[in-house]
């Protein structure tokens, strides 16, 4: 029998298996914590930070990413607080300009924007980013690597230049018959822009320059 760990999430006693994360424990107890870069088939990544929660132990409160923080006995978790709500609101406002398509956003990000009262246009004119419709959550990259073994998608660039690219030599072999990334992409960018076939609109230069 595996050892069960008792912790408290939003005032509710929750039992979790050792090695589980706060997010898994919370979901097991029907407590919602929002995520954008989490996928149950993938290793936790910790990029979107929307799952930030307050974790208290020994009187010390830390903001941690629920998707990666392992459960501990006696841990007190608060999934909502004025500070957490503020963090989530600002994260949505910061990332929304990237996700923009036809002047709006869709899917989970849209739902979260409404829930946290985020003004998705707040920084849009200031940031002047190209609305690539990609929030760099890395779900496609990691799904392709970890689940499909395709290794056809990756990141290029660093800092604010970071972007997702398809590696043409791998993509030309794996992608035509796969298309699994269409489903995991939270903004629908990949499906919308690849035409559903073997990327006929794109040349190698397009792949490398990150237009994909």
């Amino acid at each position: 029998m595996e050892e069960m760990i008792a912790l408290e999430i939003d005032g509710k006693e929750v039992k979790a298996k050792e090695g589980m994360t706060i997010l898994e424990a919370a979901r097991g107890a029907n407590i919602e914590i929002p995520t954008l870069c989490y996928h149950e088939k993938l290793k936790p990544y910790g990029a979107c930070r929307i799952c930030s929660v307050e974790a208290e132990r020994g009187g010390r409160v830390r903001i941690v990413a629920a998707c990666g923080y392992p459960v501990e006995g006696g841990l007190l978790v608060r999934t909502r607080s004025p500070k957490i709500d503020r963090i989530r609101k600002v994260i949505i406002e910061l990332v929304a300009p990237l996700a923009m398509s036809d002047g709006g956003i869709s899917g989970e990000l849209r739902r979260l924007a409404d829930e946290y009262g985020a003004d998705i246009h707040r920084f849009e004119s200031r940031l002047q980013v190209e609305p690539t419709r990609c929030i760099l959550c890395g779900l496609c990259v990691r799904y392709c690597d970890e689940v499909m073994g395709g290794h056809a998608i990756g990141f290029m660039g660093r800092g604010i230049e970071r972007r997702v690219v398809f590696f043409p030599e791998r993509a030309s072999r794996f992608c035509p018959t796969c298309h699994e990334c269409y489903e995991v992409c939270p903004t629908g960018k990949i499906a919308a822009e690849t035409d559903g076939s073997i990327f006929p609109k794109f040349s190698i230069d397009d792949f490398l320059s990150g237009k994909m």
């Binding site: 990029a47 503020r86 910061l94 604010i160």
Partner: protein, 640 residues
């Protein structure tokens, strides 16, 4: 091939043999060949010395040696003649014959000595130069005696005696206790107690365990680790091997950043020699302890200095941080317990083992023991690497060692801790240098960058500089850091260009709070520090930029204009001729004036206007007076 050493006794035997072959009275000309001096042509100077000694037929009487960095980089090429330790500065190849002649005659070449800028007095002995005199160089000081490519130089100075002591006379727990008792705190930035990490790795389940050297120093203006690794690589290696023994690790990595080719070269030499002598490999010094080390060259990413990112890089993955809720000390490289310390921390370990924790604790403050190496740069007279006991005040470092502010300007702030740190203004100049004291001021010790700023430095621009740096150097993985920096950059650019809006400061603070609370790694959580600390101490400068469209330091180009005061202009034509934009009008005898619409604000007119006229001034936030009517004649100043 040297004989492999199998015991403490054999090492001491070898040391005696090396020393017996040395002639302590024979003059030796040493040339600093660290990267700083190399940029001034040190390699050429060194080779010229070799040739010149030959030419003058003095090969038997004079030695010539290449050494590591002395720290007074601004005065390179640094040449020191032993045994008297006469310091010659800014030595050029053409000076070499004269120096050699002087050394042969046991004389001193006055003209290349250090000259005190105040008294004009020449100082011959290196240790008496104020820059060196006020330092305590316990970690860095051996650089000047050592040819980094020659292990015998290190052994002659007592090298590897700490290792042999640890292996032959101390248990691994005793070594750990000694480091614990010394309260050695990590020199890489955070100041985390080294022994706590060591213990955590030692006690963590899982084999193999790894020990790692972080030589990914990347803070703008900082190069302490480079100089130590280039100049005294064996001290780092010795510390690492001792640490490995204490922890029970048999494999180590040394992560050296791509931009440090000489550090890599000297380190690889050192590893090879250490293997030959039996300090690395199987059965080290006959103790039965085995340890091997690999050099991992970085791919040029600042973020790889973060421990989990560095470990990803060592695994061959992209250098991106990952969760550290389980410490890297427990689950690091390949999920194994991995202890990481920076170059300076490792290099301090042999000293503690040799001289004892009590000796180490006698230096420094209550919470911060020992010394710290800083790279003192910016608007200060003596720039270079300085090693001072913890607890020395910022004022002592900047004025006593650094010789005060360039051109007699007024001190404004000192930036410590690099892109994770902050600025410390004048009213805190008497703060002791100490991990906790600097943190209290909203900055941090960091790895030891110390950038001095004077009255002409715009603090909003400083914040902008660091945010720009981080925009390019952040990994870009998590949203708060990446997008937060992107937004901060836009806002700070706007503020510097006079396009800042009311409410911008509040937006900066709101976003900075989210970055600090929710970013993935320590670089992200501290990325807003340069902005927050300049806001904390210089909020009025932000407000002046935003509300009055005025840059108080008269630095931001878009908010500053150049103006020639007609009553002071002597029509010397110097600015007019030097203006690259052709914006200056006037003629011989006629007052000059700047056509503002043509001015590119390069500041050359301001620089070249003779100080006795000082006719060109900078204006910010005030209207520019109309130019004088065409043909206005000069009002001659009475000479004398």
């Amino acid at each position: 091939m040297p004989k492999k050493l199998f015991s403490l006794e054999e090492l001491e035997e070898l040391r005696k043999e090396i020393l017996s072959k040395r002639e302590p009275d024979k003059p030796v000309i040493t040339v600093c060949t660290g990267t700083g001096c190399q940029t001034y042509g040190a390699t050429n100077v060194y080779e010229t010395f070799l040739q010149e000694v030959k030419n003058q037929g003095l090969e038997d009487k004079l030695g010539v040696k290449a050494t590591g960095c002395h720290g007074f980089c601004e005065k390179g090429v640094v040449v020191v003649v032993f045994p008297e330790e006469i310091s010659y500065l800014k030595v050029k190849p053409e000076d070499v014959p004269e120096v050699v002649r002087a050394v042969a005659k046991k004389g001193i070449l006055e003209r290349l000595l250090y000259e005190d800028p105040v008294t004009g007095k020449k100082i011959a002995k290196e240790s008496e130069i104020p820059f060196y005199k006020n330092q305590s160089r316990i970690v860095f000081g051996n650089n000047k005696y050592i040819d980094p490519k020659n292990i015998e130089d290190y052994i002659a100075l007592g090298g590897y005696s700490a290792l042999s002591k640890a292996l032959s006379q101390m248990s691994s727990d005793q070594v750990l206790e000694e480091i614990d008792k010394a309260n050695l705190r990590g020199r890489g930035g955070g100041g985390f107690p080294a022994s706590r990490k060591w213990k955590e790795t030692k006690n963590a389940p899982g084999e193999p365990k790894y020990v790692i050297v972080n030589c990914d120093e990347g803070d703008p203006g900082a190069y302490m680790d480079r100089s130590l690794m280039e100049g005294n690589p064996h001290s780092v290696l010795e510390g690492l091997i001792i640490g490995a023994y204490a922890i029970g690790a048999h494999e180590g990595f040394i992560y050296v950043r791509q931009e440090y080719p000489l550090a890599c070269e000297n380190l690889n030499w050192a590893i090879k020699q250490a293997e030959e002598y039996g300090f690395l490999g199987e059965n080290i010094l006959g103790s039965g302890f085995n340890f091997r080390v690999k050099v991992h060259r970085g791919a040029g990413a600042f973020v790889s200095g973060e421990s989990s990112a560095l470990m990803s890089a060592v695994e061959g993955k992209a250098g991106e941080p990952r969760f550290k809720y389980i410490h890297t000390a427990v689950s690091g490289v390949k999920g194994r317990p991995s202890n990481l310390n920076n170059v300076e921390t490792w290099a301090t370990v042999p000293l503690i083992i040799n001289k004892g924790a009590d000796w180490f604790r006698s230096i420094g403050t209550e919470g911060s023991k020992g010394t710290k190496i800083f790279s003192l740069v910016g608007k200060v007279n003596n720039t270079g690497l300085v090693e001072v006991p913890m607890g020395m005040t910022l004022r002592q470092v900047i004025y006593d060692i650094g010789g005060g502010i360039l051109k007699g300007k007024r001190f404004k702030a000192v930036q410590t801790g690099g892109p994770s740190g902050g600025v410390i203004p004048e009213q805190y100049l008497d703060t002791p240098v100490d991990f906790d004291e600097l943190t209290k001021l909203g900055s941090m010790m960091g790895s030891g960058g110390m950038v001095v700023m004077d009255e002409d430095t715009c603090m909003v621009d400083v914040a902008r500089y660091f945010v720009n740096f981080l925009c390019e150097e952040s990994c870009g993985k998590c949203i708060p850091c990446r997008e937060g920096l992107r937004l901060l950059r836009v806002i700070l650019n706007d503020v510097c260009q006079g396009k800042g809006k009311e409410g911008d400061i509040e937006v900066i603070e709101e976003v900075a709070e989210v970055m600090a609370a929710a970013s993935l790694c320590a670089l992200g959580t501290t990325a807003a520090n340069p902005v927050l600390s300049t806001l904390r101490y210089f909020r009025d400068e932000y407000e002046a930029h935003i509300k009055e469209k005025r840059c108080p330091a008269k630095f931001c180009k878009d908010l500053t204009s150049f103006y020639i005061q007609p009553e002071k202009c002597q029509a010397c034509l110097i600015c007019l001729r030097n203006c690259p934009a052709g914006a200056i009008n006037g003629d011989k005898g006629l007052v000059h004036w700047i056509a503002q619409e043509k001015c590119s604000k390069c500041g050359i007119c301001f620089e070249v206007c003779p100080p006795r006229f000082s006719a060109v001034v900078k204006l910010s936030g005030e209207p520019i007076p109309e130019p004088p009517p065409p043909g206005t004649k000069v009002i001659r100043k009475k000479e004398g």
